[in-house]
């Protein structure tokens, strides 16, 4: 069909708007990367946009000299990996059990699960209860409270329900145990939904600083995000407490920049893989309800 004049104008205006919009979103992010590679004192003069003017690795080498960042990196990586493995495992077994129509107590488990989606103890009661469990300043506070998520269970359950029952039945006739059916048939067929849950939980674990902010004050257990939060909120790193105000400001600012970039790299790196599962992660859960 031929395009009308009105349509052509609309498409052109829309294109211009989209280019403008993309720049608004992308520019600040690129600018931060450019600034982090620029000489800190020179950066104060302004005028740095997409590319550093006085290129230097100084900010990065300052940050990487700091012992705390290695520790925080290890904590972040550990909590992300341990979190992904355990959370995905718990979600999968729970969801699979709930697909059994004859499971004793199934109705009750579902009611409990739905309750957890709408009611919670709130920040303070949760804090006090976790404290009594000995979870303050404990690595497991990052993992255990978020192991179970009924939202994720629903997503996986709906996927499992889409697998033809006949596949399981024929395996059972051949003498397969429930474990074999689950491990050899269900799991290999469910890799897309497993990837969805794993990636979303991974991003959550990597980005979360509030858990550390509430439950952890031992600096050795800080993840990267909490370390960065401390740098941002104090805008003064403990390692550069000397010197004139300007030097102190520029040094802490460049440290902040470099830490920001380092913290963001893993998310940007998995982002292309994540993208495949954006819609499935959202709609599988939301629409079925």
């Amino acid at each position: 069909m031929r395009k009308t004049k009105e349509e052509k104008i609309f498409n052109f205006v829309n294109l211009v708007f989209m280019v403008f919009f993309t720049i608004i979103i992308a520019f600040p992010l690129i600018n931060i990367v450019a600034l982090s590679f620029n000489d800190p004192l020179d950066a104060l003069k302004g005028g740095i946009f997409l590319w550093p003017r006085k290129f230097t690795f100084e900010s990065y080498s300052t940050v990487l000299e700091n012992h705390a960042i290695y520790l925080a990196f290890i904590v972040s990586v550990s909590k992300t990996i341990v979190g992904i493995v355990l959370h995905t495992f718990v979600t999968a077994i729970t969801a699979y059990a709930l697909t059994r129509e004859d499971l004793i107590g199934r109705k009750w488990f579902e009611i409990m699960g739905i309750l957890t989606m709408f009611v919670n103890g709130g920040m303070i009661p949760t804090f006090l209860v976790f404290k009594s469990y000995g979870l303050l300043n404990n690595f497991w506070v990052y993992i255990l409270p978020v192991l179970f998520s009924f939202y994720d269970v629903i997503i996986m359950m709906n996927f499992f329900r889409g697998i033809p029952r006949s596949l399981e039945e024929s395996a059972e006739i051949d003498g397969a145990t429930p474990f074999t059916v689950f491990a050899k048939i269900i799991i290999p067929l469910s890799l897309p939904v497993i990837a969805t849950i794993a990636l979303y939980h991974g991003v959550y674990q990597w980005n979360d600083y509030m858990t550390a902010n509430i439950y952890v004050n031992n600096e050795n257990l800080f993840p990267l995000q909490q370390l960065l939060y401390k740098i941002v909120s104090e805008n003064l790193s403990p390692t550069v407490a000397t010197g004139t105000a300007v030097v102190r400001q520029t040094t802490s600012q460049s440290m902040q920049l470099a830490t920001m970039v380092i913290t963001t790299i893993p998310v940007v790196a998995v982002y292309p893989f994540l993208q495949k599962y954006f819609v499935s992660g959202l709609t599988l859960g939301a629409v079925k309800k």
Binding site: M18, T94, P125, L147, F148, I214, S233
Partner: protein, 313 residues
């Protein structure tokens, strides 16, 4: 003659027998049941300390009851109105621009003809959603500092002669919070709309074009009605989450100078409870937040029923 053994077989096996048969599946569900009890239900029980005078020396069950004392204290607190004004004000403006903003953006992205460019725009616009508020808050603070990007740009353009103290001025905080949230989430907000737009029958557009409908008419009469359900769903979800979602952002962007316009209910609970140890008082404030959120959800469900059930367009 009826065979007695078949009737026997049809009888439901005993509870223990059935449980034993499904032991594998029961073993799969119980870890989650225990997790729910430990990390969801026991903390819910802890809510009773809002009605008790709880100190670190007490147990949750053993603390003395004080009724609604802490609620009254909160309502009389001079900060009550400040905190309420900030919470509802910031949430209102976020919603006011964020909600229609995402719909409009989705409509426009949907109209991009080139598939590759469309994909590119989507990829870029979703990215900020996956970065934490620590990163983006740090970025905002840096951009708005005396020597930051915005001030140097405005000075170069001779719009201002000396830097504006964005972060230190309480009058600017709301705008900063609202716009930075918009920047972070507007792209992600389009994703469900775009997904449901793909389900709209293309022949509707063809027919409209033959009848001479303009782009604008197609959007109003085909695209928007096509995503009506999703708009209603999103409205309910975002109204319910209005009061709860801003702690990450607030703690990063807040400082002692903009405190008067940045303190919201959740950050107030955090400060009173975690930092200062007024556990009962902070829990009472937390319950107040939940009750208000619940009222908002019920109201929005009632309001959006009209949109999702019957056509308003």
């Amino acid at each position: 003659m009826e065979d007695s053994s078949t009737t026997h077989k049809n009888k439901k096996p005993s509870f223990f027998r059935r449980f034993k048969d499904q032991a594998f599946y029961q073993a799969m569900i119980w870890p989650s049941v225990i997790l729910m009890i430990l990390f969801n239900f026991i903390p819910m029980y802890g809510l009773i300390i809002a009605f008790k005078n709880y100190t670190v020396l007490d147990t949750i069950g053993g603390a003395p009851w004080v009724g609604f004392e802490y609620f009254q204290e909160f309502f009389k607190d001079p900060l009550f109105w400040t905190v309420m004004k900030n919470t509802f004000g910031i949430a209102f403006f976020k919603m006011l621009i964020g909600f229609p903003g995402a719909i409009m953006l989705a409509v426009l992205i949907n109209e991009v003809a080139n598939v590759h460019f469309k994909k590119f725009v989507q990829t870029i616009s979703y990215l900020p959603h996956f970065l934490s508020w620590v990163i983006l808050g740090g970025m905002v603070i840096m951009w708005l500092s005396d020597t930051g990007f915005l001030n140097s740009l405005l000075m170069d353009l001779k719009v201002i002669s000396k830097p504006i103290e964005f972060m230190a001025d309480p009058n600017k905080y709301w705008a900063i919070a609202v716009l930075s949230d918009f920047w972070k989430e507007v792209g992600w907000g389009t994703i469900l709309y775009l997904a449901s737009m793909t389900a709209i029958d293309p022949s509707l557009y063809e027919a409209a074009k033959i009848d001479g409908a303009t782009k604008w008419q197609q959007i109003i009469h085909i695209t928007i009605p096509g995503i009506r359900q999703m708009i209603a769903l999103n409205l309910i979800l975002s109204i319910g989450g209005l009061l709860g979602s801003n702690l990450d952002q607030t703690l990063v962007l807040q400082n002692s100078l903009n405190y008067a316009s940045s303190e919201v209910l959740n950050s107030y609970v955090f400060k009173m409870g975690i930092k200062q140890g007024n556990f009962s008082y902070a829990t009472a404030v937390g319950i107040f937040v939940s009750v208000v959120s619940l009222i908002l959800i019920v109201l929005s469900r009632w309001g959006t029923r009209k949109i999702s059930d019957k056509s308003v367009f």
